[in-house]
């Protein structure tokens, strides 16, 4: 089964090709079923590989499957090869698993869309690219997938491209991601320069054994982090993710919550020895600092958003910041753990919000919702489970992973722990606010009926079964997902045991002081979560306290506007200056040479009178002169 690892990305690729060639003929809903079937088959193969790996001893759980030599140029030899080890298979499992559920959901959500089959075309291409990213044995194969998911993200954000804002959001995502891709490429150049290979195996080995200079390792780690910051929407490059909500909601769930945006975290974990062992000791601090800052910043912004998807978008940015906080704190297992649980509950929340939007005829403003729990019972129930999971209420999945990250943050520095704790408080607060505004309180969906115009009377209704089934499955996973890593004993830490061969050396050990008080820390975290929930309850349900939603937060600290102003003002001017330099100085040199030649030629050409007799006379004079020269030379000698 292990040799069939190539099938995992090949199946979605086959789905992509089938829908590409026959999409129109298949039509709705068969194109959707083909795509779903292919992703589900990839999931089954992944499960097979997973079982195969489980049956081996821990040391043997790393299998490289080479398809062919991709780029053999001089010293650079890059194979198209897949690496099946605990880390990549964990990623592949949840990418294909959640991917299948979201494919199924999309069949219901995209019902009646004129570009139905094209949507599944892109979706399958995305799953293929993501699996290449995850299963790549070297940086270049990962980069291939990295760019592939970026392209699919662009195509799917601007899926409804006739809408101006969707087209702009797609472009914004693409351009912002290029900044991060630059970092990834520079990291690859450094790796090749230092080691002569791009494979992860030799890179991590060199990092562990000191086979790589400290300065080089720091550069590689930080440049990879720049790539991760772009892809995983961290400060200062997070800007594209909130705008990416212009895409269809299943896309937001799959790409911009569960899978693609976690690629940066995956990359950092994949190359963990470089950051944790080989680099200078302050390098992890940068990662942890940016992660913590992003987590806190995005959580504050989420508090004041009124668009149901924008809240979840900022929440995703915030949770990704949590994962980078874990990476920077040396808690690689916790980062992957949170990535998996986050994929469960955030996909659930996004799909739930999609179900709400679907039922409300494309209304996204939470101020025009309320009391939807009664008309959409299953959506409401599953959404509430997702809310409990993200708010960190035990025993839901989010509690366990968040708790582990906080423990390691405390281990690194109490300052990071406090930032994480405040973020947890805000997370519980804004998620409770969202649940109350959408599902509880008074029904407000017809309050603005007359000014709505086109929207008119809204009759919310529950979604079809293809949409509800994924919700129920994800809700189940959000409840029990924490079971893969319970902190009670060594045996209950299944994820840690499983991932041990990959990241054992990079994981930072817990100081004894931290280990002892871990239950106290957990208690504080739960208390903070409950405080956040009850505060939001008082504000939005009981309305005893006036809501604090300053414009500053609603506009995300004017960061987006600031960047736009900077790029539109001074940035624009400097680009214009560069353009002027190009068109005047560079082009001037080229055109000047041409003008000079033209001018000289203009003078010389006057000699060509066009009179045949003049030419003949000149030839005669010339001939006489030549003969005279020969004759008189002879005389002179």
């Amino acid at each position: 089964m292990l040799d069939l690892v190539w099938l995992i990305p090949a199946l979605p690729l086959a789905g992509f090709l089938i829908v590409l060639l026959l999409g129109r003929k298949l039509g709705e809903p068969r194109a959707g079923y083909v795509a779903t079937l292919m992703t589900a088959s990839a999931f089954l193969v992944t499960v097979g590989v997973f079982i195969d790996l489980l049956s081996k001893t821990a040391e043997e759980r790393s299998h490289v499957h080479t398809l062919f030599s991709w780029i053999p140029v001089g010293n650079l030899k890059v194979d198209l090869a897949f690496l099946a080890d605990p880390l990549s298979i964990t990623m592949a499992l949840f990418v294909t698993g959640i991917g299948s559920l979201i494919h199924l959901y999309s069949i219901g959500y995209m019902h009646g869309d004129p570009k139905f089959s094209k949507f599944f075309l892109y979706l399958n291409l995305f799953v293929f690219s993501m699996l290449m990213l995850v299963l790549g044995e070297n940086m270049l194969v990962t980069f291939l997938g990295w760019e592939g998911v970026g392209t699919c993200s662009y195509l799917l954000i601007s899926f409804w491209h006739s809408r101006e804002s969707a087209a702009t959001a797609g472009k914004k995502a693409f351009v912002t991601n290029r900044v991060g891709d630059w970092g990834f490429m520079v990291a690859m150049f450094f790796t090749f320069q230092a080691l002569g290979t791009l494979s992860y195996g030799p890179l991590n080995e060199a990092a562990r054994d000191g086979g790589i200079a400290q300065s080089t390792a720091t550069m590689i780690a930080l440049m990879l982090f720049v790539g991760a910051v772009g892809k995983s929407a961290q400060l200062p490059l997070y800007l594209w993710l909130p705008d990416a909500m212009e895409g269809p909601t299943p896309v937001s769930a799959l790409i911009h919550a569960a899978t693609m945006v976690t690629a940066g975290v995956y990359l950092m974990v994949r190359t963990s020895p470089v950051l944790a062992i080989a680099a200078w000791h302050w390098a992890p601090w940068i990662v942890a600092g940016i992660g913590a800052a992003t987590a806190l910043y995005a959580a504050m912004v989420a508090v004041a958003q009124n668009d149901i998807k924008k809240v979840l978008a900022y929440s995703t940015v915030s949770q990704l910041g949590y994962m980078f906080l874990a990476v920077g704190s040396g808690a690689y297992v916790a980062a992957i753990f949170h990535m998996v649980t986050h994929a469960f509950f955030k996909a659930l929340l996004f799909l739930g919000s999609g179900s709400v939007i679907h039922g409300m005829n494309s209304e996204q403003d939470m101020r025009r919702m309320g009391a939807l729990r009664k008309v959409m019972p299953i959506t409401g129930f599953t959404f509430i489970i997702g809310w409990l999971a993200i708010a960190g209420v035990p025993p839901f999945a989010g509690f366990w992973s968040k708790d582990e990250i906080l423990l390691f943050a405390w281990n690194k520095s109490p300052v990071l722990w406090v930032v994480g704790l405040v973020t947890a408080l805000l997370t519980a607060y804004y998620m409770t606010r969202q649940v109350i505004m959408v599902f509880y309180g008074k029904a407000r969906w017809n309050d603005h009926a007359e000014e709505n115009g086109a929207h008119g009377d809204v009759h919310p209704h529950e979604s079809p079964v293809t949409m509800l089934l994924p919700l129920v499955v994800l809700a189940g996973l959000s409840i029990v997902g924490g079971a893969i890593q319970l902190p009670f004993s060594h045996a209950s830490k299944r994820l840690e045991t499983w991932l041990e061969p990959v990241i054992e050396t990079a994981e930072s050990p817990l100081k004894t002081g931290s280990e002892d008080i871990k239950w106290i820390l957990a208690g504080v975290a739960v208390a903070i979560g409950l405080i956040g929930i009850s505060a939001a309850y008082m504000v939005y349900s009981k309305k005893k306290v006036k809501a604090i939603e300053p414009n500053l937060l609603a506009n995300a600290w004017y960061y987006d506007k600031g960047v736009s102003a900077l790029m539109g003002g001074p940035g624009r001017k400097s680009f214009d200056a560069v353009a002027w330099f190009d068109s005047h100085i560079i082009d001037g040199a080229v055109n000047g040479t041409g003008k000079l030649v033209q001018g000289v030629a203009g003078i010389v050409r006057k000699g060509q009178s066009g009179l045949v007799r003049t030419y003949a006379a000149l030839i005669g004079v010339g001939a006489v002169a030549v003969i005279a020269w020969f004759v008189f030379r002879g005389v002179a000698q």
Binding site: K606, S609, G610, L611, V612, R613
Partner: protein, 106 residues
């Protein structure tokens, strides 16, 4: 020996050839009728041919005579092309002189 004075020597031929060449050259430079200019060029070519033959005879070298044949062949070909061009120009502009045909002026 008294006949020797009247017997043509190589010098005579060379003098004749240079006279013919000078007439041809002056004709090309002075006349404006393309057809006459063409005939003058033929005159110049034949003046050269005469020097070739005369010197070949004097030096006993067959190479000069061979060259003359080449010149005649090439001249014949040149006449075909040149006359063709001149006829087609004159057909379009019957009164054209060589000075009028200055389309390639820079």
């Amino acid at each position: 020996m008294h006949l020797a004075v009247a017997a043509p020597t190589t010098t005579w031929y060379l003098v004749l050839a240079s006279l013919l060449f000078a007439i041809g050259a002056v004709g090309v430079l002075v006349r404006r009728n393309p057809l006459v200019m063409f005939m003058c060029i033929e005159l110049m070519l034949n003046a050269v041919n005469l020097t070739f033959v005369a010197l070949a005879r004097k030096l006993g070298d067959i190479g000069g005579q061979t060259t003359v044949f080449f010149v005649m062949v090439v001249a014949a070909a040149e006449v075909v092309v040149g006359l063709g061009i001149i006829v087609s120009i004159l057909r379009r502009r019957p009164s054209a002189t060589a000075d009028d045909i200055a389309e390639l002026k820079g």
